[in-house]
């Protein structure tokens, strides 16, 4: 009998060009490869690997598999996973193969799209090239596909339990589904923005009772609490503000390889009517006439000419954002703009308020996850 003993998807922790990314489960969960182990890994979520499209482009992607054989007469066999892993000869010495490299057929990144897939690999062997392929094992895995190597706050090194900023599968589970199908960074970030806004009002809503304070992003990003909330738990409660939304969007989008920042505008500016996350009525935020500051997920230098992604509110997208009727527009990849441009700034702030609604790129940051 032949069996798969272990599979390593991430076999080069210093690169992501031929194998999977360095990842961890969450702030407390870290497992060193092999990602799949016999008798331990049963369901797809027990064996996870994340691949980045950009660095693997044009490269063969390999996995390392360790096999065993209890047949003392079998010293050599061809092994494959039909339609998933290319066949290759494997030698068994004293019933063990050690880790051997296999090339993937149509690897998860081949479609060029963000996504998450649960797969079952049906392993087969044949003693010789004229024999029939015989099934010997099934292994199950969850594959995440992101556009590029995750950017800050996420990092790839060191690949160690102490590095809590390795991309979390708890985050990829959501980010890859929210942005499924995206082939560009802007599209992925836009889909994440849309998904976060759509969390209201059932999971989160704007913090009108609390004056619009940060519940998840005061200091570091309490991503653990936010994921708990996504899963139906208490988290840090139901309320969010702009900093929370900016941090959630940029952190989840950056896990996909986007390159967003959290950055503020201000200070003290009057508002047009808007639809805050979780809200149903057009009004200046919670009826307040002004924002002390506002924060969004922002590209590049977080300046007037750069694009914003704001999951905290929808603005009026028509020709006159200062009065009804309103056409709800969720700011996704919308340039911040200058007064009179009829871009994000004009849609958010009243004409007199626009002079105080200025990009504050000195506030640009990426809060670490915890």
């Amino acid at each position: 009998m032949i069996a798969v003993e272990a599979i390593r998807f991430n076999h080069d922790v210093n690169a992501a060009s031929h194998d999977a990314l360095n990842i961890r489960e969450n702030a407390s969960g870290f497992s060193a490869p092999p990602e799949w182990r016999r008798f331990i890994s049963i369901n797809p979520e027990d064996s996870r690997a994340a691949y980045a499209i950009e660095p693997t482009l044009g490269n063969a992607i390999t996995v390392l598999a360790s096999l065993s054989s209890t047949d003392p007469a079998l010293a050599f066999a061809e092994i494959r996973v039909k339609e998933r892993v290319k066949a290759r000869p494997v030698n068994f010495i004293n019933g063990k193969s050690g880790f051997v490299a296999f090339d993937l057929v149509d690897p998860p990144t081949a479609f060029g799209r963000v996504g998450v897939w649960d797969v079952a690999w049906h392993w087969q062997y044949r003693p010789g090239p004229r024999d029939y392929w015989r099934a010997f094992d099934v292994t199950r895995h969850r594959f995440y596909v992101v556009l590029g190597v995750p950017t800050s706050p996420w990092n790839q090194l060191p690949h160690a339990a102490a590095n809590t900023q390795l991309p979390w599968t708890d985050v990829l589970d959501y980010a890859c589904r929210w942005a499924a199908g995206a082939q560009t960074r802007d599209f992925a970030a836009a889909l994440v923005t849309r998904a976060v806004y759509a969390l209201g009002p059932s999971l989160v809503t704007y913090d009108c009772p609390g004056g619009g304070s940060s519940h998840y992003s005061w200091g570091h990003f309490d991503c653990t609490a936010f994921v708990e909330r996504l899963r139906g738990g208490i988290g840090n409660g139901v309320y969010v503000n702009c900093s929370d939304c900016a941090t959630i969007v940029s952190t989840f989008a950056n896990a996909l390889g986007c390159d967003l920042w959290q950055s503020r505008m201000g200070w003290g500016f009057a508002l047009n009517e808007l639809l805050a996350i979780g809200g149903h009525n057009w009004q200046t935020a919670c009826g307040w006439s002004a924002f002390s500051y506002h924060e969004v997920a922002w590209e590049n230098a977080c300046a007037s000419g750069d694009d914003v992604f704001d999951a905290c509110l929808r603005v009026d997208g028509d020709g006159d954002p200062t009065q009804p009727p309103h056409v709800a527009l969720l700011p996704q990849d919308l340039t911040f703009g200058n007064p009179g441009d009829l871009l994000y700034r004009d849609r958010l702030a009243t004409p007199p308020g626009r002079a105080n609604c200025n990009p504050q790129p000195a506030t640009r940051q990426r809060r670490p996850v915890m």
Partner: protein, 157 residues
């Protein structure tokens, strides 16, 4: 916090009238922790010490025993001095999007310096400690009785 925002907040909340204060002879509070029995009718759901922050912060979430949808977020910042507590109070005000926080100036106001937003948010400095109390659940409660209890607790330490 960046200088521009700090300048705006100082002006908007008239910090010159309260910031800095006088270092009293009262001793500074050190190593504040919740034990869980401080607030009648409330269960300490979670407490976390964020010592990577400056000043170090205790983030806590409390559940009302009568309703799962009634939650309070209580954050405690332990500063090195009274002056730094007032700086931290300003920093905390900078994490509220509204500019409508109101300073509490009555004789029975909380702490040494206090702000509120309706009765849903209380924000005050007592000695070197800054306390921020907010609703975190859909069923809202007045935070004032809780704030008074905590203020008295800190004053006794």
């Amino acid at each position: 916090m960046v200088t521009d925002q700090l300048t705006y907040l100082k002006q908007h909340y008239q910090a010159s009238q309260w910031q800095g204060g006088r270092e009293s002879s009262r001793h500074l509070v050190k190593n504040f922790r919740f034990e869980g029995a401080e607030l009648d009718g409330w269960t300490l759901h979670r407490q976390r010490l964020d010592d990577h922050e400056k000043p170090k912060a205790i983030r806590s979430l409390w559940r009302h025993e009568g309703s799962a949808e009634t939650l309070l977020a209580i954050d405690i910042f332990e500063c090195a001095s009274i002056k730094m507590a007032h700086d931290q109070l300003l920093e905390a005000l900078g994490n509220f999007e509204t500019d409508a926080m109101k300073r509490q100036t009555r004789a029975d106001a909380l702490g040494d310096v206090a702000f509120a937003f309706d009765d849903r948010v209380a924000l005050f400095a007592r000695a070197n400690i800054v306390v921020v109390i907010r609703n975190a659940g859909r069923d809202l409660v007045s935070v004032e009785p809780i704030a008074r209890k905590l203020d008295a607790l800190i004053a006794r330490k």
